[in-house]
């Protein structure tokens, strides 16, 4: 990577800047990690992109690219392996927890993560999810919960909120027939073998920084062999929520966070939890 003045000049040229003199004496403090392979296909503003970015920044900072193996789901992130520069396996819908179990048990010294959406982890894959947690499989769940099925056109997910409209709940989710939205962090924290559970989000820079910190801690706890680590990201879906990216942040703040509370539910060495998990 070119540094310093050369880098700045090159970036200037790319960004179409002209006035080099004023740029002198600057240092680079944030740039796109090289572990992101290519421009991705996620919709503008989608937190999938943000979490992909943080995952690779964490892998870069912990210097574990050579021993990281990811498992990607069926859903919008089905092509995650095109964007993340680590060895990856594409799992069948819902089965990433089982696939990750198979990988981690064979290679306990590697860092393994599964990356799943709400249908993958909490609907079709819930048995694999719960049993992997109960067995304390030592990999990291990255759970992107945006309360809707994005890739297939906006159907209801197990985490769609009561009253929320989707193509299969056009009059709003009715919990009498569809059940209540599942709170996965709360559910998995009850397993003794699960070591670290946190629900994060990326709607503000402060929250985004916390999300990255949580992912980093999850990998660190995994490396220490402490048990299952589970990071749920309360995420957005501007496309299927039928709004702009900026508007999606409002929905998150007004509707999602009151129900899916952010915070730590369980952490090694900590008695109290910061979230009101039930």
């Amino acid at each position: 990577m070119r540094e310093g003045k050369e880098w700045i000049e090159a970036k200037d040229a790319e960004a179409g800047g002209e006035d080099k003199e004023a740029r002198e004496g600057y240092e680079l403090i944030y740039r796109r990690t090289p572990l992101l392979v290519t421009r991705n296909r996620y919709c503008p503003g989608c937190f999938h992109s943000t979490i992909h970015k943080f995952l690779m920044e964490v892998v870069e900072e912990l210097d574990i690219q050579e021993k990281t193996i990811g498992v990607c789901p069926v859903g919008c992130s089905v092509f995650a392996y095109e964007y993340l520069d680590v060895d990856m396996q594409e799992a069948a819908h819902g089965r990433a927890a089982a696939v990750a179990t198979g990988i981690k048990r064979l290679h306990p010294d590697k860092v393994v993560f599964s990356y799943q959406g709400d249908g993958d982890l909490a609907a079709i894959g819930i048995a694999e999810t719960l049993h992997a947690c109960n067995r304390g499989e030592n990999f990291t769940f990255v759970f992107i919960n945006n309360g809707i099925y994005g890739m297939t056109g906006g159907q209801m997910a197990p985490t769609t909120l009561e009253g929320q409209k989707s193509t299969t709940s056009p009059y709003g989710r009715d919990i009498k027939t569809a059940g209540a939205p599942l709170k996965m962090c709360e559910i998995v924290s009850h397993f003794d073998a699960v070591a670290y559970v946190e629900r994060v989000t990326c709607n503000t820079p402060a929250n985004a920084r916390k999300a990255k910190r949580a992912l980093k801690k999850a990998f660190e706890y995994q490396i220490q062999g402490l048990g299952t680590t589970f990071i749920e990201v309360a995420s957005n879906c501007p496309s299927q929520w039928k709004c702009t990216p900026v508007q999606s942040l409002d929905w998150l703040k007004d509707k999602v966070y009151p129900y899916y509370q952010l915070g730590v539910f369980k952490e090694p060495g900590k008695e109290k939890t910061t979230a009101q998990g039930k």
Partner: protein, 104 residues
């Protein structure tokens, strides 16, 4: 008086989601509504260069890692020598610390 920070946004990588624009504390970013990239999307750019404070909010919040943030070195190191506290220390937050000339 040059600005404390400078932001370069990769025009093609940017998808025009606007999250950086609304989270910039000094409102120095904007969406370029008169131009699009090759994907047909309006991209964000540093519209008011004097105001950037290198807080890295835009870099952190950008989903597509399209943002590069620079910060002015301390005055006495502006000549390019070893920085006293420029490389690798806590700044505006836990952003991805790029290697500088001395650290690479």
């Amino acid at each position: 008086m040059p600005a404390k920070g400078y932001v370069g946004i990769d025009k093609e990588m940017c998808k025009g989601c606007n999250l950086c624009v609304i989270h910039c504390p000094t409102e120095c970013l904007a969406l370029n509504t008169s131009d699009t990239n090759s994907y047909g999307l309006h991209f964000a750019y540093l519209v008011d260069e004097e105001k950037c404070i290198a807080c890295m909010n835009c870099g952190i919040i950008c989903p597509d890692a399209a943002v590069t943030v620079y910060r002015m070195r301390k005055r006495k190191d502006a000549a390019g020598g070893a920085g006293a506290n420029t490389a690798g220390t806590g700044g505006a937050g836990a952003g991805s610390r790029a290697q500088t000339g001395e650290g690479a």
